[in-house]
Symmetry: C2
Subunit: 87 residues, 2 copies
């Protein structure tokens, strides 16, 4: 499946979250990751993130899509990920 | 259509962008908006944002989906939008 992950994390934990997300997904912008991921890996990622964050302070939203057939991504302004991955 | 909008904007312009996005979409988390929007309104929003941002510094990503039938949203940790809108 395809996921978009956005986080809002306290400064003390943000580097750990960044590092963990990088293991599974592609960084696209400040606090935003995206990528194809298996259900098993997503489950693992969520469990690992759950161990890092403070649940009363931090927030992570994961949007999961079965496919990206009907979707479109558009960037206004600067493309921060210079690889320019567009699905 | 349904859109997820994420932005990474210089401090000087961030309030203007926030205010503009609020006119069209629902705030869900720091730098993240989502919502149902017509093609016409989305076009208008993009044009208006294009006038506010510095294209060499700021970045806005808009993911657009024809529908959300196959999608799922999950929050780990705190739900920052207390309205708890879930599609």
């Amino acid at each position: 499946m395809f996921v978009i992950l956005v986080y809002d994390i306290g400064e003390k934990r943000v580097n750990k979250v960044l590092k963990k997300c990088r293991q599974y997904l592609t960084w696209v912008q400040n606090s935003v990751f995206e990528g194809e991921i298996t259900e098993g890996s997503l489950k693992k990622l969520k469990m690992e993130l759950g161990r890092i964050i403070e649940k009363q302070e931090d927030s992570i939203i994961i949007y999961a899509f079965e496919n990206t057939r009907y979707s479109n991504r558009e960037i206004i302004g600067l493309e921060k990920n210079s690889l320019g991955i567009i699905f």
